[in-house]
Structures are given as C-alpha cells and as structure tokens.
C-alpha cells in the first residue's frame, strides 16, 4: 500500500533521517513522540504538502514522491477541524465528492440531519466529525490523522476515536494517527511508532 524508503527531512534541524515505514491495506499505525520530533511533518510529506529532502514514497507500487497532494488520493485531518464557513455542512461535504450522498455520509459519523447547519454553529467534536466525513467521501487510499481529537475533552475524544476506528474498519481504509496520547495510540492500533528527536543539524 504505502512504503516510505530512506526518508529524510530537515528544516533548521534534522526532523527525521533514513526513515523507513510501510503500511499495508486496512492497517492502522500510531505515530507518537515528543513535540517537534517531526510527526506532523512526516504526515505532511506523505500527503504531499511538504517535500522530502531525500527518500521515496511509494503508494500502490507508484512512486508519488513528487506527485502534488491533489493527485495522491491521501486524506488528511488536521488538529483543528478545517471547515469552510462560507459553505454549510452539505457544501463542505460536497467538496470531498461532488455527487456525494451527504445524508449517508453524515449518518455514518453520527450527524444525521446536519446538512443545512452553518459550520460556525458546530461544536469542536461535530466539526471534526464533518471533516472526517468529508475526508472519507473523497475515498482516500490512506487517511492521515494529525492529532484530530486533541481539542476535545477526554470523554468525547474516546468516543470520536472509537467511532473513527469503526468507520475505518468498515471501509478498510488504512490510516496513520499522530498523537501525543499513549492511550489513544494504543487504542488506535497495535503498531505504534515512536519518533525521537534528532541531533542538531551541523
């Protein structure tokens, strides 16, 4: 499915070096580690929002290292739910897929009847569910989750995580979760990758 070979990335310091990672169909991986160790940057590199300094990204046996994000078919959920407030919930979902069955998508994430809601009136948890539904409507080959539940309380976080796992399992969508929370990492997947902070760049 996804293979990362010898990936390196640095800004003012090395974030990761010679990193290898693979993700097979339907698999889930948790990425954890201290702040600034490059977890988010790695996700951004996989999504195509950042380029790797070195290394290759193979997706379904195709080298996508230099493929722009819109052509990779990888979904990404940011830490804060990114919704477009000039569109209602249905409008946001149709960005993921123009002829989307919005009602079913909302039902899947437990937001039945939310089609006409204004995005600014949604709670944090609801907004993240809409963002999840939209990302899934685009039928991504892989879903990347960058601490998507960190802004909600513990109880809601557990519920959202559980629901997300159920949906991913049902769809068979492979996913990588970045989190600081060990418990969340363990709940999400059996495979947990711990990233360490690299030495300063020479």
């Amino acid at each position: 499915m996804l293979r990362i070979e010898g990936a390196s990335k640095s800004f003012d310091r090395i974030l990761f070096k010679d990193l290898d990672l693979s993700l097979s169909a339907g698999e889930r991986i948790s990425l954890t580690g201290p702040s600034g160790c490059g977890k988010t940057t790695l996700l951004r590199c996989i999504a195509g929002l950042e380029s790797l300094d070195e290394g290759r990204l193979i997706l379904d046996d195709n080298d996508v290292t230099n493929v722009p994000p819109e052509k990779r078919g990888i979904g990404l959920l940011f830490q804060n739910p990114v919704l477009y407030h000039h569109l209602d919930v249905a409008g946001n979902l149709r960005l993921g897929k123009r002829e989307a069955d919005v009602s079913s998508a909302l039902k899947e994430v437990g937001l039945e009847g939310f089609e006409d809601r204004r995005c600014e009136r949604l709670s944090g948890g609801e907004a993240q569910r809409v963002a999840l539904a939209r990302a899934l409507l685009a039928e991504p080959k892989i879903l990347l989750l960058d601490e998507p539940f960190s802004a909600v309380d513990d109880e809601l976080r557990d519920r959202l995580l559980k629901d997300t796992i159920t949906i991913l399992d049902l769809r068979g969508t492979p996913a990588i979760l970045v989190t600081h929370n060990q418990k969340e990492a363990k709940s999400f997947s059996e495979n947990i990758i711990i990233m360490r902070e690299q030495e300063p760049k020479d």
């Binding site: 195509g48 819109e70 078919g73 979904g75 477009y84 000039h86 990302a135 685009a138």
Partner: protein, 268 residues
C-alpha cells in the same frame, strides 16, 4: 476634546464645497450671495463646460469600471505571487512587494507625463484611444488592491488551502470555491477602493485626457474653476461638480466600510 476639532477639520472643506454650490454672488454696490440651485442646474445642463456633470460622472464611472476590471485581478495575482514567494521563503518576496508600491512613490502628474512620453515613443495612435486615461488609474489603484489583499492572504489559515488540495480540488476550484469566497470581504473593499481611487484621480487624467469628451469629474471641476470668474454661476457650477464627485466617493467609502472586517486595518 479631540473629536470636535477633528470633525471640523475633516468636514468643513466638504461643507464649504456644498455651500458654495448653492450660493451665487450678486454684484451690486456690495457683493451679496443668494441661495439657489442655479449652479446645479447649469452643471447638469453643461452650459459652462464641454460636458455636463452627468456625462463627466459617466466618464469617471467608465474609467473606474475599467480600473476595477484590470486592477483587481492584477492586484490579486501580484498579492498571490508575493504571498507564495513569502511562504517559500524566497528573497524575491520583499523586492516584489516594494515594487508594487512604486506607482505611489511618484505623483499622478508625473505618472501621466511618463505614460504620455511612453506612448509617444510607441505610437501616437494611442493618443486617440479613449481608454488611455485609465492606464494611470490602474497603476495607482493596483498598489492599494495589493495592500488590502496581501495582509488578508497572510492572515488566512494555510490549512484552508492545504485541505482543499488534499481533497483533490483543482486549482480552478480552489480559486473559485475556496480562495475567492473566503477573501470576499477584502476583495469587495479592494474593488471599491480601486473605483474610488479612479474616480478621484486628477493629476494623470489631466495630462492624458486629450479631448473634452473624455473629461472625468475631477478634470471637469478643474476646467470649470479655470474659467473667468466674471460670470457668477461659474464657481457654483464647479462646486456642484465637486460636490457630486464628493458624494460618489463618500458613498463608495461607506460601502467599503460596510464590507471591512472588524480589526481589518490593511497595510496603509
């Protein structure tokens, strides 16, 4: 304490113009004035100039529309380009940013003169092109468009565009469905400012307006003011033209204020 003198300072010239448009001098042994709409009537009928103020207003609006149609996309493109260079950490971002401000560094008259000399070198045929006076308007309005759009683009959460990219939206759809709607407010303000800049521009227009048929409102005011003042209706007519220009730009600025987001100071 400061508000009253500030209001007097800002409003008194405007009130003086309106007042002067409504008063005609009567010469007798002592000069006296009477209140009348004669100045407005002669301004509308165009008795003292090549054009009436309505024709002048239509000319001004025509040039303003042309300015809007060109300056707004041009300013958008420049702002997007500068913003993109900034995001990439390019050293060219700052020079390009400064370059867009250059037309503001010289006066309108100099700009008009430069364009005049430039078109003589290219082809004198351009003298007969009615759109020539719009060129400096576009050059002067574009920096303002950039100053309004660039900070708005900088303020925008990059995740909004990145999410759209990840959702596989094409560049066209990102522009039309995301970027333009999200920057609707600053775009409307920039458009209104571009129109207002064009409406009020005098120096370059004065140089480049080659026939009375192209007269804009500010040029018309100047022409009326330049007429011999022995006819008591000349000054009120000029002031009526000035009042109309003032009202038009005032309405435009009020409209701009209506669409300006709270705390949106731009970069002036």
């Amino acid at each position: 304490m400061v508000l009253i003198p500030a209001l007097i300072f800002c409003l008194s010239p405007l009130i003086a113009v309106i007042r002067a448009s409504l008063r005609v001098a009567e010469r007798g042994t002592v000069i006296s004035h009477r209140w009348t709409l004669d100045g407005w009537q002669s301004a509308i009928s165009g008795d003292y100039a090549y054009l009436s103020i309505i024709d002048g207003l239509l000319n001004s609006l025509g040039y303003a529309a042309l300015t809007l149609v060109i300056a707004l996309p041009l300013g958008w493109s420049l702002s997007s380009g500068i913003h993109l260079l900034e995001k990439r950490g390019s050293h060219w971002a700052k020079p390009l940013d400064i370059l867009t401000m250059l037309p503001l560094a010289i006066s309108g008259v100099m700009l008009g003169l430069g364009i005049l000399l430039g078109i003589i070198r290219i082809s004198p045929v351009f003298f007969t092109m009615w759109w020539m006076p719009a060129v400096p308007h576009i050059m002067l309005a574009t920096p303002f468009v950039v100053r309004l759009l660039l900070p708005a683009m900088r303020r925008q959460d990059p995740a909004l565009i990145e999410t759209a990219q990840v959702l596989a939206l094409s560049r066209w759809h990102i522009l039309t469905k995301i970027r333009i709607p999200l920057l609707r407010g600053p775009l409307i303000v920039a458009g209104i400012i571009a129109i207002a800049m064009s409406m009020g521009e005098f120096g370059a227009s004065w140089i480049l307006v080659r026939t009375g048929a192209w007269d804009t409102l500010p040029v018309l005011v100047d022409q009326l003011m330049a007429r011999p003042g022995f006819d008591p209706l000349v000054k009120p007519t000029a002031m009526a033209a000035a009042s109309l220009l003032m009202f038009t730009t005032l309405v435009l600025f009020l409209l701009a204020e209506r669409f300006r987001a709270d705390g949106d100071g731009g970069m002036f």
